[in-house]
Symmetry: C4
Subunit: 222 residues, 4 copies
Amino acid sequence: MTGAGPSGAKPEDRLPRAERMVAFTDAAVAIALTLLVLPLVELVPEAVHANEPASSVVTHNLVAIGSFLLSFVVIARFWTVHHRLFGFSVRLTPGLVRLNLLWVLTIAVLPFPTEMISSFESDHFAPPFYLSVLLVCSATLSAMTIVMQRTAARDGDEDGVPESFVVGSLASTSTMVAALVVVLIFPDLGAWAFLVLIADPVFEPVIRRLRGDRKKPRGVSG
Amino acid sequence: MTGAGPSGAKPEDRLPRAERMVAFTDAAVAIALTLLVLPLVELVPEAVHANEPASSVVTHNLVAIGSFLLSFVVIARFWTVHHRLFGFSVRLTPGLVRLNLLWVLTIAVLPFPTEMISSFESDHFAPPFYLSVLLVCSATLSAMTIVMQRTAARDGDEDGVPESFVVGSLASTSTMVAALVVVLIFPDLGAWAFLVLIADPVFEPVIRRLRGDRKKPRGVSG
Amino acid sequence: MTGAGPSGAKPEDRLPRAERMVAFTDAAVAIALTLLVLPLVELVPEAVHANEPASSVVTHNLVAIGSFLLSFVVIARFWTVHHRLFGFSVRLTPGLVRLNLLWVLTIAVLPFPTEMISSFESDHFAPPFYLSVLLVCSATLSAMTIVMQRTAARDGDEDGVPESFVVGSLASTSTMVAALVVVLIFPDLGAWAFLVLIADPVFEPVIRRLRGDRKKPRGVSG
Amino acid sequence: MTGAGPSGAKPEDRLPRAERMVAFTDAAVAIALTLLVLPLVELVPEAVHANEPASSVVTHNLVAIGSFLLSFVVIARFWTVHHRLFGFSVRLTPGLVRLNLLWVLTIAVLPFPTEMISSFESDHFAPPFYLSVLLVCSATLSAMTIVMQRTAARDGDEDGVPESFVVGSLASTSTMVAALVVVLIFPDLGAWAFLVLIADPVFEPVIRRLRGDRKKPRGVSG
């Protein structure tokens, strides 16, 4: 049922198959995704108490609805990458489990900065705080990608994470750094700084060159 | 573990098996279904503060309870269709993953319009808003159905989505359009316009004729 | 992947394997179980605002904590039975899917009557309302048990639900009816009427006799 | 599909495979983990109403954020142990199912004492209450570990829980007892008493000696 590491691990050190950790992760991500709607639901009784029409729940809360959609897309996007990543060969290591739990933490906490960018308009703290959480999330995912690539290389597993996937992941993390730098230099940009995230493709060739010496056939001997 | 597409996809383009995406979807749907009860739970302390008897929590909130039941049935119904759809042969494509995440969004957001039809009686905005979310949900499911049918046809997979399933899905979406048109023309109908949804069987023969030239074989013999 | 019914079902009528429905059900039940704690969490800021010590959150809310524990045990107990039931051979039929969704509804709604018995002490409506939800939950589970037994018998499946399981399920439902009758006759009993549920073993021999003619070797030819 | 016990259990006593119980457990744990963020989300509108800047949501609520992180780490840590435990050979017994549900209860309830240590600073009740829940959680996990070890030994299963795992689990439980004793003797320590939990490694050799006569074979060679 479980594969002991190739280096003759003690039985108490071996780890179960990745499937359960992935299912657990998915449940947490699905919940974070679905909890995002709760602040929108709470806007409704407020409008009722203020004797406003139903349409004002939407028209007066465009920032809240936009924040909801943004965080939904962000989480869905991160999940898609995680989903593809764990489609490659995985052998759980204690470090990978810990990184994955840290990644779950960054997803689970996201409703908090989401509520901040939704409630505080033209504030200088909320956008960089939101981006910092995304950055930790992305960096953790990159770290998992590299750990998985190395573990597969060490195991001589041909089906490990390919280099192109690592490059894409590091490029995403670099974009987050860039967006964070931009919003820290120009705080008045606020959430508009998030548009820097679209610059994602810019970083891929840079990362590819920086890691150029690894572009050799992957997983051959590590 | 994963099947590379038949057209020789690059390793970084291949997608994992559908099971994980389905499990993730189910978790999100189950959460949306279960979160619907929270506004009902919050009615209880309100009645306590107003010194009303417990029975009034039910008798004074029939619209809220009805909205809860309606959305529960709607989500359960959509899940049943999704469940049957993914019982056919599935090969994940990036487009299918994106459509599925959009579908999850429409389910996850449903507690928001539910709270609106529950809190605003005789309002002209809430019912068409609720129906619009249902329409996007249904249209997305129809799009997934067609994408899966085409992917299976291209792969030469005999176990793909049968034409009758596509017709049923498009008929449901057409019914949603009809209900939305009715409530926009006769806004005073309010939630009663939802009764148009019962007209579902009316649209099946129309859709079948419109798509008549596709009613040929594929998967019918299975 | 899916087994078409033995009676040559049309492809669009066939249903996927039970595993996905079971996983979906489990997610909904796990959420209902975990949401029960939210009203307890909300007691804490109330005590802070009232300048009470932390211990009073517990000592002043014994009924709320008791209701939480009761509903947790109730849901856990129902889940255990569902878990054992679906350990037998299952073939999904549209009726079984519908019954299962109704069962999920009764579990998902339980936080609502739980909050009522927690907030309204010495009230004549909340206890029978709570018991009615349990009764529908139990009756639905019994109906699923019988449907699964019959489907297995019709399929000639030797591994179907055994008669003893059906008897146990009907006995539980009978106990719920008895508890509901008691609380309707003696409304002042309030939640104490729940103690009738302990009488469960009383009903097993009665049910067994009533169904005596079925105690023959099960699943032989139906 | 299910393995009847080796002692010729009646069909109605047999239990399904552990996978479903594990998945159910994971869903509940993932939800408890994700619900922890809700009190943080609710801090945001409070700051808005008080006309405070967004940064104050963080700077004025360091205890709440620390409690969130503490409970996240605690639940993630317990889940990791549960995950590794169920990586060993498991045969469900009614006692194991019951212990597991009790364990889920201690995890599901954790948001309640978390909110207490977050809201009541320098209070003598909240820290021991929080630690008591952790102690029951840890003791239940230890009991599951021992039950699984014994069941595997009785079944002659070589892949059962190894002794070293049992020792580690009992050492964790002992540390919880020590931390609880410390906070009861020195209540002014408050949450600082949690630092005793770091003393975990101190207890392993003691437990190992106490259980010394069991350190014989079983599963060690695997």
